[in-house]
């Protein structure tokens, strides 16, 4: 290797140029990440498993490197809820102990074909339920900017891998903020794409009407590269869409700000000042800023915490100790179920399964589940109307910087409120991008702050344009 690889500033775009120029090989790049993992993984708890064939993968990828293949030889981390054929995968849950993926998820297959190097599977909140990775059965992931704080969640491992340079990029999944919230906390770029734009085939189901896979990267361009590589209709996911190319906007996008929602209770002053500074920066770059109203947005979180548990209780009924995973013996068949699920699932998963069973039960179905779906439609209308006058809706990504480990662990409702700015994009199905916008200094630590840009369905292009303008790519 001619020069030491600077992992802190490396992007997919730069690494690709170096690989093509022959400045370093795919094997040398992979080795650089393996070294970093050896140094940092014990402290950060990012990887549940580092694969044993990383260098062999890199050697194979070397042959695929070309000017047109942007992803060959790029080392990535994968959230532990995506199936990689022949590899263990368990959504950081004990109930899938010993499970080996029998096939590749579609997104995984596409990246494999491109020559991406799979470093390992990353920690997460069990079955993607949580906002801190404290719900992992394998311990919390630490924030690379301050190890006494959470990395966020549920894709905390994937995001800390990128933020701590233990991977060049990562995949996460986002049901209500699980890519964007940790991305804000760890100072990286996180994209929750349009619902259906990337196949969910091979992604373990949490809230099927909201789940989506998305990239976590060091730059906006990198997120775009990965999104382009994974998107498209898939015969194995009936909700996937044929993603059309959009006409580029003729002028600078107009940004709408729902101030009535942004400037609410419990939003840290540094978040608001960073947000205002970001708006100024956009204004200077020629963007028009408008105030907008989203009349039903205050109900988003309540809608979300009805629909998600309902879908969770349904989706997770498949874990019965019969077909795969953990099996705990009981006195009879019912006893087997009770023991397997009682011991195999962690506290938050059990809480959501019971809550979902409650909102779907016959006496409460109309009051909760049906009502939530109706309000979800109102939310969709609010956004549809808003996008008639603006191209982007901007909010902070989170209400504050990353919190200290343990601070919210005993209060599930406080943890749910972490998602206040992010859940709406999932309910409406639109794309949303979190980008780093500033920091808050606490002691000698600089803790990252993110802003969130949302656009209309299949308008990721607008988010990429604005994101690049903002960070100066």
């Amino acid at each position: 290797m001619s020069t030491k690889i600077d992992l802190a500033t490396l992007t997919i775009e730069k690494a690709h140029a170096h690989l093509v120029a022959g400045d370093f090989t795919a094997r040398e790049l992979a080795q650089a990440y393996l070294d970093e993992i050896t140094k940092k993984n014990k402290e950060l708890n990012v990887y549940l498993e580092v694969f044993d064939d990383v260098l062999a993968q890199a050697d194979r990828a070397q042959k695929l490197i070309s000017k047109d293949n942007l992803l060959a030889g790029i080392p990535m981390a994968f959230k532990d809820n995506m199936l990689i054929e022949g590899r263990r995968v368990q959504s950081a849950s004990k109930i899938l102990d010993g499970y080996i993926a029998p096939y590749d998820a579609t997104a995984i297959q596409k990246l494999r074909d491109a020559g991406v190097v799979f470093l390992g599977r990353a920690n997460m909140d069990e079955f993607a339920m949580g906002a801190s990775t404290e719900n992992s059965a394998f311990g919390v992931t630490h924030n690379p900017h301050d190890t006494s704080r959470v990395a966020g969640g549920s894709s905390g491992g994937s995001v800390a891998a990128v933020g701590g340079s233990l991977a060049l990029a990562a995949l996460g999944s986002d049901t209500g903020g699980s890519i964007r919230q940790p991305s804000a906390y760890c100072g990286v770029v996180g994209l929750k794409p349009t619902y259906g734009s990337i196949s969910r085939h091979g992604l373990m189901a949490m809230g099927s009407s909201l789940d989506i896979i998305g990239p976590i990267t060091k730059s906006v361009r990198d997120a775009e590269i990965l999104f382009d590589a994974m998107r498209g209709r898939d015969r194995y996911d009936s909700t996937s869409i044929e993603y059309g190319t959009q006409k580029p906007l003729k002028k600078k996008p107009v940004i709408g700000v729902p101030w009535h929602f942004v400037d609410g209770d419990g939003i840290a002053p540094e978040i608001i000042s960073t947000f205002k500074a970001a708006l100024k920066k956009f204004e200077k770059a020629g963007y028009e800023i408008k105030e907008i109203k989203l009349p039903n947005i205050e109900y988003s979180l309540a809608v979300y915490y009805i629909i998600v548990p309902a879908e969770v209780s349904t989706n997770l009924s498949r874990f019965d100790g019969v077909k795969y995973g953990l099996h705990v013996e009981g006195p009879n068949l019912l006893g087997d179920y009770l023991a397997t699920r009682g011991q195999g699932f962690g506290p938050e998963v059990r809480r959501r399964i019971m809550l979902g069973t409650y909102v779907l039960s016959s006496g409460y179905y109309d009051a909760y589940y049906n009502k939530a779906n109706t309000v979800r439609e109102l939310l969709k209308d609010d956004f549809k109307k808003a996008f008639e006058s603006v191209d982007i809706i901007m909010t902070p990504t989170t209400a504050d910087v990353a919190f200290e480990i343990g601070k919210k662990a005993s209060d599930p409702l406080a943890m749910y409120l972490e998602d206040i700015f992010t859940v709406t994009a999932n309910l409406v199905g639109i794309p949303a991008l979190s980008i780093p916008a500033g920091t808050k200094k606490i002691g000698d630590k600089e803790l990252p702050i993110g802003i969130q840009l949302m656009a209309n369905h299949e308008r990721e292009d607008i988010l990429f344009t604005a994101g690049k303008d903002f960070v100066g790519e």
Binding site: M354, N370, N373, P412
Partner: protein
Amino acid sequence: MITLQDIEKLATLSRLSLTAAEKEKYRGEIDSIVGYIDMLKKVSTGKPAPVMSRNKNVLREDVNPHEPGMYTEKLLKLAPKRDGQYLKVKKIL
């Protein structure tokens, strides 16, 4: 107000065994979450819209089946208990 009996019923319906301490903890937590989501009762929506999927007939045509048994071993291998080509469970009746 969520009662301990509610939690016991939900746990049974959900096929989850809980300890006495867990039941009490979940009672309080689920009660506070239900208290929060109750805010939706304030929204006047009129008649609830039926939940409809935009998808119709999403199943593939029933043609060109794959070779029988192609995936059997791959999937059965993952079962905690099996008997030949069968999954093994305790007697149901």
